[in-house]
Symmetry: C2
Subunit: 379 residues, 2 copies
């Protein structure tokens, strides 16, 4: 049974911060917002389905200013960034982006940001939805490290979709075509040198432009918009259907501080057993020795279409056993089934395992699979 009334209205104030692009987002008729790092994040413009098809075919501008940066500067900066994550930061160099699981002392996930090295002693950590600034500042103060930690005036603007490269190249020049995946270059705009990374929260390709001066927000939006008109540019945002198909996890939805990176399938980003000085390392080594008891998987769930979970849906298999829970789900108009992401217990995580999902619309049959879903990347 669904609760009335849905969908609710968002009451906004200074506390739900606007971005340098909010005026343009409103002008393009945003239909939904969420709040992410105390900031407005547009969720859809036409409908999630229409936005999905368009994202796979054209190019979209995404206001992802809510990916706030934690800036770490100073002689102890590299030491502190390494202390945050089981990923080996000694391999991070200027021009690279590293997806880093950030964990607490028990190995529980606190965020899954992207770290950029700007200089040997200067990093940006581009956040998912938690005030990681407070964790990093707290550690720095408690450990008495020689660093400055703050949130700079930096707001990423995403350009996503198969036509993103042509659009960004029309504004910033052909050099953007040489930027490798999870690499960045620095290119001029209105007297600023902007970091442009080939990255983003979709599998359709694209860039994130790290605008470092809020007053230039509309100028940057407008010049990219104009360049995108021949490619049918639209306003968009992280798309629920597309990101589930692509197996892109959402912190706070698919994982919380209860989960280790290994449960989240992020073991490939962890060099925990190497000689790194990272908080939670002992706990993570224990979890590696034991092996994770559950792990993130995809799950197919045929129709009829229902909204995704607001609270996790219990997953059963066979007799009333606990087999996991579904944390994200959406109807895929391309695969003509719901695509789900869930944390599945080890006895049931083999692809092909049949499960029962307890949705608000009653029990539904599901089938476990690996992420990403087939055809997630259109091109």
């Amino acid at each position: 049974m669904f609760d009335p009334p849905m969908p609710p209205v968002l009451s906004i104030s200074r506390r739900t911060r606007r971005t340098p692009f909010t005026r343009r987002v409103n002008q393009h008729g945003v239909k939904g917002y969420t709040v992410y790092n105390h900031m407005l994040l547009p969720t859809h413009f036409k409908s999630p389905e229409e936005d999905y098809w368009h994202l796979r075919e054209a190019v979209q501008l995404w206001d992802v200013s809510c990916e706030r940066q934690v800036q770490v500067r100073g002689p102890d900066a590299a030491r502190l960034v390494q202390y945050l994550t089981p990923r080996d930061i000694s391999k991070l160099t200027v021009g690279k982006c590293f997806y880093i699981p950030v964990v607490d002392e028990t190995g529980g996930m606190l965020n899954d940001p992207v770290a950029l090295m700007l200089d040997e002693d200067r990093f940006w950590i581009s956040l998912a939805d938690s005030d990681l600034l407070l964790w990093v500042k707290g550690l720095a103060a408690g450990m008495n490290l020689e660093v400055a930690v703050d949130e700079p005036d930096v707001s990423p603007l995403g350009v996503q979709g198969p036509k993103a490269e042509d659009t960004v190249a029309a504004v910033f020049g052909e050099r953007v075509r040489d930027i490798g995946f999870f690499r960045y270059d620095t290119l001029p705009f209105n007297g600023h040198d902007l970091i442009i990374a080939r990255s983003g929260y979709s599998k359709q390709g694209g860039f994130e432009i790290y605008l470092d001066d809020s007053s230039l927000g509309e100028a940057l939006w407008d010049v990219l918009w104009e360049a995108g008109v021949p490619h049918n540019i639209q306003a968009g945002g992280p798309n629920l259907i597309e990101r589930i198909e692509g197996g892109l996890l959402s912190y706070g939805n698919d994982m919380t501080s209860e989960n280790t990176p290994h449960e989240c399938g992020l073991g490939k980003f962890c060099q925990t057993v190497d000689a790194i000085n990272c908080i939670g390392r002992d706990a993570l080594i224990r979890s590696i020795v034991d092996g994770p008891a559950r792990q993130i998987r995809g799950v197919y769930m045929p129709g009829p279409a229902i909204p995704g979970p607001i609270e996790p849906w219990a997953v059963h298999a066979g007799e009333a056993e606990h087999a996991g829970r579904i944390t994200s789900a959406a109807w895929s108009p391309r695969l003509e089934t719901h695509v789900c992401i869930g944390m599945i217990e080890s006895a049931y995580w083999e692809p092909g395992t049949e499960v029962i999902i307890e949705t608000p619309a009653g029990p539904r049959a599901g089938e476990v699979t690996m992420l990403p879903f087939p055809g997630a990347a259109a091109n």
Copy 2:
């Protein structure tokens, strides 16, 4: 000029957490939500104006589960809580609630929570809107303190308004009438001992009941509702008009990490110059020596009625000087003027000073005053 479209729809998911009371809140026809500590917070049910009048006359149930607790336990718990705040924690005893400004190493506000001592070595810190858990955990880990820091399953339910005492007494007994302001008692409910404090984010009187088991949410709601029917109980939430009239500050709106407690008028809660071991103490002593350059004030702004600020409104006085900025505002149907809260520069903060406020509807005349506004507490 206002941006279309307003008001926007809130896209919800597991990440915008439900509470133990959300189903009841929806059943009572909530009209707006905000997101607060990654959790749904109802903002109004009929209209802000109707909810305002009702709050001053009757009793309301408020789902303020979003006031999450940071629990600090262990031999170093009192030392750590003292390290967080310039308020002298040695005066806090079991049964008391302390409003504590929490600051960073520069004296900037990170949160303005209420601390409860549950035992000599166990505290709850009841939060405003920031992930203070990460700050406290980071300090504890960095300082290698002997404490455990976590977020327990505790969801405050507010009972606010002049009929709150009769309502709560009908459920928990006459003993609640003896609870002093910012004191708490512990009373039984369904096999649990619940903390009941005389506190809350209104000036109409009332209680906050710290429910420590989510599964009992609807049972607690229902028994209070039934007890409140003779007093015309309604569902409500922190009311923008009422809290501005009462001078109750909102973290993220009226103050941020840019502001010291002294700028926020919270100097009376700080014993900074005493022999306490608090982070940011040196910086705060400097700010006391210098005196704050600006401070929070009330500002009257006559009609016609317009919505409050999403971004701060600039305040001028005389020639185009910077005199401050308005951070919260609402039309008061009782005072028949806008009541505003703003950070006002020292040259202009005397009550009676006439200022010009740059609103999205054009410049408006205003007059500085002290907080709270007259008649804020109805009884």
